[in-house]
């Protein structure tokens, strides 16, 4: 029996641990291949064909094709690998962060300028539930 994970209570957060790393191994390694210019070019030319070279699950491939940034994380992706896909798309960390929070880029940037998301009300899943 696996040890219980104390961090499962964090709202809106996937902690990338050894279990997630195993689940997302091929997804992440595929995204990592985008560090090479020639691979970025091949990916842009035919994304589906590029993804089909990797033994990933269909939902993982769909999450990449639809740029479901949160979905990729749920399926074992890690932010530093998905960031390489973002860079391939010409997007910054802040742009994908905005998308993951469901805010517009302008609203997210404004929240950061005002000091960011406060820890109050964002420490536990129970706090997000009561907020609705």
């Amino acid at each position: 029996m696996a040890l219980p994970k104390e961090y499962d209570d964090l709202p809106g957060t996937v902690v990338f641990d050894a279990d997630q790393a195993r689940k997302g191994y091929h997804l992440n390694m595929c995204l990592m291949s985008l560090m090479k210019a020639e691979n970025r070019a091949a990916f842009k030319k035919d994304e589906r064909a590029y993804l089909d070279h990797w033994p990933m699950t269909e939902p993982q491939k769909q999450s990449v094709l639809t740029r479901d940034w949160n979905g990729m994380l749920q399926l074992g992706g890690n932010i530093y690998f998905t960031a390489k896909l973002a860079a391939t798309d010409g997007l910054s960390f802040q742009q994908i962060a905005a998308m993951m929070t469901g805010k517009t880029q302008a609203d997210y940037a404004e929240m950061m300028l005002k000091g960011g998301r406060p820890p109050e009300g964002n420490r536990s899943k129970s706090e997000w539930k009561t907020r609705g």
Binding site: A21, N28, M29, F81, F93, T101, M112, P118, P119
Partner: protein
């Protein structure tokens, strides 16, 4: 003997590297960030270290999920700059100090820290952004750099206490080196930030301020912070602050804070920076 004269901690936010490389340092958004390091640049020019040990984390640029070393020391003569998806940063390659790096590995492993030896490695923004902030844009970095990569990406990551003890072991290792060298150790990453998921953008100024204060006032209070507290209070990427504790552990018990800078936001992150000097000459 080699000895540590000072410790520098700084965030290593990639957007800062991009702002520098794209000549945006005078833009209103970035200007305060770079102004915050002007005094630090003057300081390090005066300190003139012979070697810098830079504690940082690789962001899945050199390492991958194939092998995830907890602590890895770069023993190569040169470390090329990684292409993180935008093309490599146009900064000088990083020259190592293979002789001192091998000595560190030798001493640390016998001291029961099981260090991974790395003889070929590209370095990413985690290492190059702190160099840019402290040294600007020279044709070559002014001194050799020993990269010390820490896994803070795949849980379980090392505890704050383990990091602090590693710092102490580094200090001991330097003392047995046969050449006189003045070393500055960098702890990089942090402070509070979360890059991922619906909770992205979390910032905790109160936590960060206390962490900065306790580097001089009560380092043990920082050392005792458990992983869950970092995750809950400082966002999923705030855990990078354990790397600052390696830097802190390598210094004297008593240190003097000579400079501090804190700024929100730099992209998604609370930028924290501090310079600590050893008080015993």
């Amino acid at each position: 003997m080699a000895r540590i004269v000072a410790g520098v901690a700084t965030s290593h936010i990639p957007a800062i590297g991009a702002a520098w490389d794209n000549k945006k340092t005078a833009e209103p958004y970035w200007q305060p960030v770079f102004r915050g390091f002007e005094r630090s640049k003057e300081w390090i020019t005066k300190v003139k270290p012979d070697v810098c040990i830079v504690v940082y984390n690789d962001h899945m640029s050199a390492f991958s999920l194939e092998i995830v070393p907890t602590f890895a020391i770069g023993c190569a003569a040169e470390f090329p700059i990684a292409d993180e998806g935008w093309g490599p940063r146009a900064v000088p390659p990083v020259k190592g100090h293979p002789e001192l790096a091998s000595h560190l590995v030798q001493s640390l492993v016998l001291d029961e820290f099981d260090i991974t030896i790395v003889n070929k490695m590209e370095v990413d923004h985690g290492l190059t952004v702190p160099l840019t902030l402290m040294f600007g844009q020279p044709d070559a970095w002014p001194c050799p750099v020993i990269p010390l990569a820490v896994n803070v990406v795949v849980y379980p990551v090392p505890t704050g206490n383990r990091c602090y003890m590693l710092g102490k072991a580094i200090r001991k290792a330097l003392a047995s080196y046969d050449k006189d060298l003045r070393v500055v150790i960098f702890g990089t990453g942090g402070m509070s930030h979360q890059l991922q998921g619906p909770r992205a953008g979390l910032i905790n100024k109160e936590f960060d301020t206390r962490f900065l204060d306790n580097l001089t006032k009560d380092p043990q209070a920082n050392v005792r912070i458990p992983h869950l507290e970092y995750l809950r209070e400082t966002g999923s990427e705030g855990i990078e602050m354990v790397m600052w504790l390696i830097m802190r552990g390598a210094l004297d018990d008593e240190v003097k804070e000579v400079y501090r800078f804190y700024h929100v936001p730099a992209s998604n992150t609370a930028l924290g920076h501090i310079i600590l000097e050893n008080t015993q000459a």
